[in-house]
């Protein structure tokens, strides 16, 4: 890598010279490959050699001769010098005199030449000259030049020359600087050869050309080298044509640099015995030192950097993905695997479908995919013409006997032609005249073939005569037939892998090769506002599906967290206690001034402790306390907790907004938690807050354990699908979720909402106090309408149903504005039982009705946003069964989602097989 620095490259060359104005800087236009007249040139070679002789390209030297400046052989060193030359040419023409000009063309001729030119264009079948007017100008010019040497006439035509010259210039510019330099050599050489004077020039030019390439080569470290190489390729094609070596019809990409046989194409060193890597597109060979430079990071396998994006040389298809020893030496194992995988699988390297003709019809992409992914595909498919008998599955090269029996009923190509295998026996199978060998086989296997019958052979080998119903027998049925086939080298059907009918229903989805590993887990995104219980569900999933949900280390740290939580709960209670005490004192006024004891008062001994606790809390170093003090303070804390003042405060806990509902679970077992040998149980962990990183991301990989009946059902399904539950906690209420677009590969979004939020308030981004349910709704809306999640399935979890039920007894659901039209049917009369109850014994509880109502509200909201169906599940986060059911529900949603396309496709297969048998 360090050797790079030694080479001159134009990454940043500091300019140290006289100041230059912007205008004098050389400019070059970007190269548009389509504008370089290459495509036009190739077809010419196909046509006639007569045209070839008049096949001009671009002639800077001709120009110079035209103007008599014989010494202006453009130096290959810089654009600038070339520009300067051009300028001088321009000036010469501008003066209109061109002292030594001897060439002028008559106007009449000009017409003639343009006529010729248009003829030429016609001959080319409209292939065009790169589709550009300017290049035709080039041609016109050179044409007229050819003649102009023969004629001499007035200055009118000279103006025409000038015009085309201008066009030429334009062309140069548009071809880019790198191009203009190297492009001129071959053409100038050709033209000088053609004109025949200055015999010494060609060799000179040739020398120049080599120098030119050398220059460009040495610049390969610069950022422009790709362009240079492209240009070189074009030139080579030009040379070939101009030298009268017609190319094949298809434009074949040639290596950028022509070298001696056996040497490396980049460094020109080595001989034919040195190990080299070959570019799978252009056949360029590179030695060990150069291969990585020439091929770069190999995003499409072993291709020169310039060849990336081009289809590969078909003769090399067999070597795709087969690594050479050299590459293994250069790259590490992982990289080699990656490169080889890319080489085999990347889209450009796939067999171009149009090269494969089945029954005279070039395939399209989908057809090729079907052909290659069928259970019994043709082996080593190469470009070429094939025939395919859809009914029996016989497959062969056009004009030849069958070579294989592939899967029948594939909807590829056109109907089979009668003369597909060039038979002359008069016997037909499925509309194809069979070959002699086949007829022999049929006779040997006992099929009556007298009277040139037309057979109808199915893929299972059963045959019938055309127009008759009864099956006459099975061709492949006899044991001897297979032997006969082997002797005559005819194919026999391979064992059926799938029963007919549903052969490729499951392969359609993979018409494009699967780049991703099949075993990648399906991702479920669990998202919700803070306090919605996402972490509880996450922990439940861990406990439910993991053998060891928490390691000992984790438990140790969780213990730490639980204890610290406990102190913070206590702190909140103490604060509340003080507040209530104040209020109580205020209420009673000064009437009992001597005895200011209220029910909230704490005895002095505990008071000192509680004050200290509050102080450390405010200071923010709560963590310092319990490491040292857990054991020491445990009795005090317990006493404090059991004190009537605290209990009284605790009773009014719903007035303390900051006290989480789970706190009671821990507060009630204070002694146990504060002991040093406390190990949190799974339930403790479930209840504990802040165990999963509170504002971040946590993932758990799991698979659903198969229950017994499922095992029986799906015995063929060996490994159950793996899932990944990703839990992300939105900060606050989900404003500015920058990370939402990171989860585009998620399959189901599980959105979690706490039902108990309906009477709670929180401060939103603008500092206003807003109902939490409305904030939830807002966040839900923002996620559902987020472009990343447009096509995703949503599962809404209405969490904390247990808390919700309790709450409803105290607060009506209508206290939330959004739910103001909730009119529960009070179940006094028995009629209502039938309407909405799922348990017959008693009418639905208030909680059920209310949760149902909330679910409908969200479903309506979702439908109005997306017009799809929202899945809703009511959950008690702390109840394992409830969470288990919900996650299984998510799995069902996924499976349903996967099956949907198959349903559609089944109809298609029926249709296609029908059409196949009709043909």
């Amino acid at each position: 890598m360090d050797s790079n620095t030694d080479l001159p490259y134009s990454f940043a060359v500091e300019y140290s010279g006289p100041p230059i104005s912007h205008r004098s800087l050389p400019r070059a236009l970007p190269i548009d490959i389509s504008k370089i007249p290459v495509a036009a040139v190739v077809p010419v070679s196909r046509n006639s050699s007569k045209l070839l002789s008049s096949m001009p390209v671009v002639q800077p030297i001709v120009v110079s001769k035209l103007l008599g400046c014989n010494d202006t052989i453009v130096s290959p060193n810089s654009v600038i010098s070339f520009n300067a030359d051009k300028n001088c040419i321009g000036n010469g023409t501008g003066n209109g005199t061109g002292a030594e000009t001897e060439t002028t063309v008559s106007p009449g001729f000009e017409e003639q030449s343009s006529g010729e030119f248009s003829d030429m264009v016609n001959n080319r079948d409209g292939v065009g000259l790169g589709g550009r007017g300017e290049s035709s100008g080039t041609l016109g010019f050179s044409d007229s030049f050819d003649k102009s040497r023969e004629f001499s006439g007035n200055s009118l035509a000279f103006r025409a020359c000038k015009e085309s010259l201008d066009l030429n210039q334009q062309d140069w510019v548009s071809n880019g600087s790198g191009l203009s330099l190297s492009f001129e050599y071959p053409s100038s050489r050709v033209s000088s050869l053609k004109t025949g004077d200055c015999k010494d020039e060609p060799s000179f030019d040739r020398k120049n050309r080599l120098i030119g390439f050398g220059d460009i080569e040495s610049e390969t470290e610069s950022f422009v080298d790709d362009i240079d190489i492209d240009v070189n390729i074009n030139i080579n094609i030009n040379i070939n044509i101009n030298q009268g070596q017609p190319e094949a019809a298809r434009v074949k990409k040639e290596p950028g640099v022509k070298t001696k046989k056996g040497v490396c194409y980049r460094c020109n060193k080595g001989n034919r015995f040195t190990e080299k890597e070959v570019c799978i597109v252009c056949n360029a060979k590179y030695c060990v030192n150069c291969v990585l430079r020439a091929m770069g990071s190999m995003p499409e396998g072993r291709k020169c950097v310039a060849c990336i994006g081009y289809s590969i040389d078909e003769s090399k298809r067999g070597n795709l993905g087969k690594c050479s020893r050299m590459l293994k030496r250069l790259l590490n194992n992982l990289e080699v695997r990656q490169v080889m995988k890319a080489e085999k699988l990347c889209a450009v390297n796939q067999l171009p479908p149009e090269y494969v003709c089945v029954n005279r019809k070039p395939l399209c992409h989908d057809e090729l995919a079907i052909l290659q992914s069928c259970p019994n595909p043709p082996k080593k498919l190469k470009p070429g013409n094939y025939w395919y008998d859809k009914v029996s599955g016989l497959w062969g090269k056009e004009g030849e006997k069958p070579s294989k029996i592939i899967s029948p009923h594939l909807n590829v190509g056109a109907p089979i032609m009668p003369n597909a295998s060039n038979g002359n026996t008069g016997v037909f199978i499925n509309g194809r005249e069979i070959t002699k060998v086949e007829l022999r086989m049929l006779q040997l296997s006992g099929v009556q073939c007298a009277g040139n019958p037309h057979f109808w052979v199915n893929d299972d080998g059963s045959y019938q005569e055309e127009g008759q119903k009864n099956t006459r027998g099975y061709i492949w049925g006899k044991a001897g037939t297979k032997l006969v086939c082997a002797v005559l080298s005819l194919p026999v059907p391979s064992k059926q892998v799938y029963p007919t009918g549903e052969q490729f229903s499951n392969t359609l989805g993979q018409s494009v090769p699967d780049y991703f590993d099949q075993i990648a887990p399906r991702k479920l995104l669990l998202v919700g506002c803070s306090g919605s219980g996402t972490s509880t569900i996450y922990k439940q999933a861990k406990i439910l599906y993991k053998e060891i949900p928490f390691t000992d280390e984790e438990r140790e740290s969780i213990k730490f967290i639980i204890q610290s939580n406990f102190y913070s709960y206590l702190g909140i209670l103490l604060e509340g206690c003080e507040r209530f005490e104040d209020e109580a004192l205020n209420n009673t006024g000064n009437q009992v001034s001597e005895n200011d004891e209220t029910v909230y008062s704490i005895p002095p001994r505990l008071k000192t402790f509680s004050d200290w606790l509050l102080k450390t809390m405010v200071a923010g170093n709560l963590e310092d306390i319990f490491t040292a003090a857990t054991r020491e303070y445990a009795p005090v804390v317990e006493e404090l907790w059991n004190h009537p003042a605290m209990q009284a405060t605790y009773k009014r806990r719903n007035e303390l907004e900051t006290l989480p509902s789970v706190s009671s679970y821990f507060l009630e077992q204070a002694a146990k938690i504060l002991s040093t040998d406390y190990t949190p149980s799974d339930v403790d962990i479930l209840y504990a807050e802040h165990v999963t990183s509170s504002n971040g991301l946590s993932t758990v990989d799991f698979s659903f354990p198969l229950s017994l009946d499922e095992n029986n059902d799906k015995s063929e399904q060996h490994n159950s699908p793996r899932f990944q539950l990703i839990r992300v906690q939105a900060r606050g209420f989900g404003e500015n979720c920058k990370w939402l677009d990171m989860f585009e590969d998620v399959r189901v979004v599980i959105f979690c909402i706490s039902l108990s939020d309906f009477d709670q308030y929180a401060v939103d981004a603008n500092g206003n106090l807003v109902n939490k349910m409305l904030l939830n709704k807002k966040f839900f809306t923002s996620i559902v309408t987020h472009p990343t999640y447009e096509q995703m399935e949503f599962l809404l979890i209405l969490n904390k149903f247990d808390v919700f039920e309790d709450q409803l007894e105290r607060v009506p659901l209508t206290c939330c504005d959004w739910f103001s039209d909730f009119r529960p049917v009070v179940s006094r009369n028995s009629q209502n039982k039938n309407i909405s109850s799922n348990n017959i014994n008693h009418s639905p509880s208030m909680g059920q009705m209310a949760s149902h109502y909330v679910a409908v509200k969200f479903k309506k909201l979702y439908a109005s946003l997306t017009d799809r169906k929202l899945y809703v599940s009511v959950v008690k986060g702390l109840d394992p069964n409830s969470v288990d059911q919900t996650l299984k529900y998510a799995k069902e949603i996924l499976e349903w989602d996967e099956e949907k396309p198959n349903f559609n496709f089944n109809e298609y297969t029926i249709y296609s097989s029908d059409s196949g048998s009709d043909s």
Partner: protein, 383 residues
């Protein structure tokens, strides 16, 4: 004093604060009689002209299989580190487009990456709320992965950006979704100081980016989803030196101007702004044309995802969520080139861009999984 009273007081104080802020803004706009563009125009400056090959795509770095989220250049060598949602960091040689390292990350949701000043290590951070440091010279572990050499844990939210302090491989500043910025000591893995947070006057929403002053590494600026940018002195962590208001949406990127006295910001409101750190004034707004015409149809405004200044500061490169990359003339506030309309432009959102240390090449990373290097495309000769 009861809680209700306190709340009342708090509310009153907030209102006062807001009205004062309003007055301050009015006063500022009164004092600002011109912006850079109109002044430059008055001085007869003409926009920088771009030839068609002055900036062309010369390299396409392919190798990621997920959206590219972030990239960074080494200060001295021409190497790039890029972070992608496929869970890999790739270190590229920008000249040969070779990969020198492919680092598999423990957490795939990476948002940012940075090269250390010596080029010996790279840092990255993401949704795991951890900033991970990888020593590029370390030996691979048995699975062929580069091991994490240091985990900087302590953030309570995702790590949205990280940048090394210039010429110091051991100090790093991160910005995070927990509304704070943190200066880390990498050798110990501990926080040297925390900027912002609960008890301090810091950002009130997620920090989305930081940029350290090139000429004075004690000064850095941070942009945040609270639509402000804040200037910090690493010696004074308690409060921001200055807060810059002006944007109407989340501030995504911030970047110091080469001279260190100004900085640029880009925002979800589709504009970029130039602020002066000495006066605290906004110097210029860079509003794309189509947006000016459309007026206030907010829905379709592409947000600014990343910005970079040229070495001289005359050019400002900005990338947008719709795949555009504009080159602005900083002085005249005119778009002089749109890389999104050139050949080989990206097919999806351009998420990050960066200028090489010598200023000769621009690298853009996109959600179409590729990175592209743009540089002078003409034939370079010494005259």
């Amino acid at each position: 004093m009861s809680v209700a009273e306190l709340k009342e007081k708090h509310k009153a104080a907030t209102e006062t604060l807001n009205s004062l802020r309003e007055r301050l803004r009015d006063r500022r706009s009164q004092l600002l009689d011109t912006d850079v563009a109109s002044y430059a125009k008055a001085q007869g400056k003409t926009p920088v002209a771009f030839g068609p090959t002055d900036l062309v795509c010369c390299r396409i770095l392919q190798g990621h299989t997920g959206k590219v989220y972030s990239l960074d250049w080494t200060p001295e060598k021409n190497r790039i580190v890029s972070a992608s949602q496929d869970g890999r960091l790739i270190v590229w040689n920008a000249l040969t487009s070779q990969k020198t390292h492919a680092i598999k990350l423990p957490c795939a949701w990476v948002m940012t990456c940075a090269f250390s000043p010596t080029g010996q290590s790279v840092a990255c951070g993401g949704l795991d709320s951890v900033c991970s440091i990888f020593d590029l010279n370390a030996a691979l572990d048995k699975d062929g992965n580069l091991p994490v050499s240091r985990m900087l844990t302590g953030h309570k939210g995702y790590v949205s950006c990280c940048q090394y302090v210039a010429d110091d491989d051991t100090r790093l500043i991160t910005g995070s979704g927990d509304q704070t910025c943190v200066l880390w000591d990498i050798t110990t893995g501990l926080r040297t100081s925390v900027f912002g947070g609960e008890y301090q006057s810091g950002h009130t929403a997620d920090v989305s980016s930081v940029s350290i002053n090139g000429s004075n590494s004690r000064i850095f600026v941070s942009g945040s989803c609270d639509a402000t940018a804040r200037l910090w002195d690493t010696r004074v962590a308690s409060r921001a030196v200055r807060t810059f208001y002006g944007h109407e949406g989340d501030v995504n990127p911030v970047k110091f101007f080469p001279d260190g006295n100004r900085f640029g910001t880009g925002s979800d409101d589709g504009t970029c702004r130039l602020f002066d750190i000495r006066t605290g004034h906004q110097l210029q707004v860079y509003t794309p044309h189509q947006q000016q015409q459309k007026g206030d149809s907010i829905t379709s405004i592409p947000s600014v995802t990343s910005i970079a200044f040229s070495i001289s500061g005359r050019l400002l490169f900005t990338s947008y969520s719709n795949g555009d990359v504009f080159v602005w003339d900083t002085l005249l506030a005119e778009v002089v080139l749109n890389l999104g309309t050139l050949q080989n432009s990206h097919e999806a959102r351009v998420s990050c861009l960066g200028l090489s240390a010598d200023g000769s090449a621009l690298c853009t990373g996109s959600w179409d999984t590729s990175l592209k290097i743009w540089a002078f495309g003409g034939h370079r000769t010494v005259i």
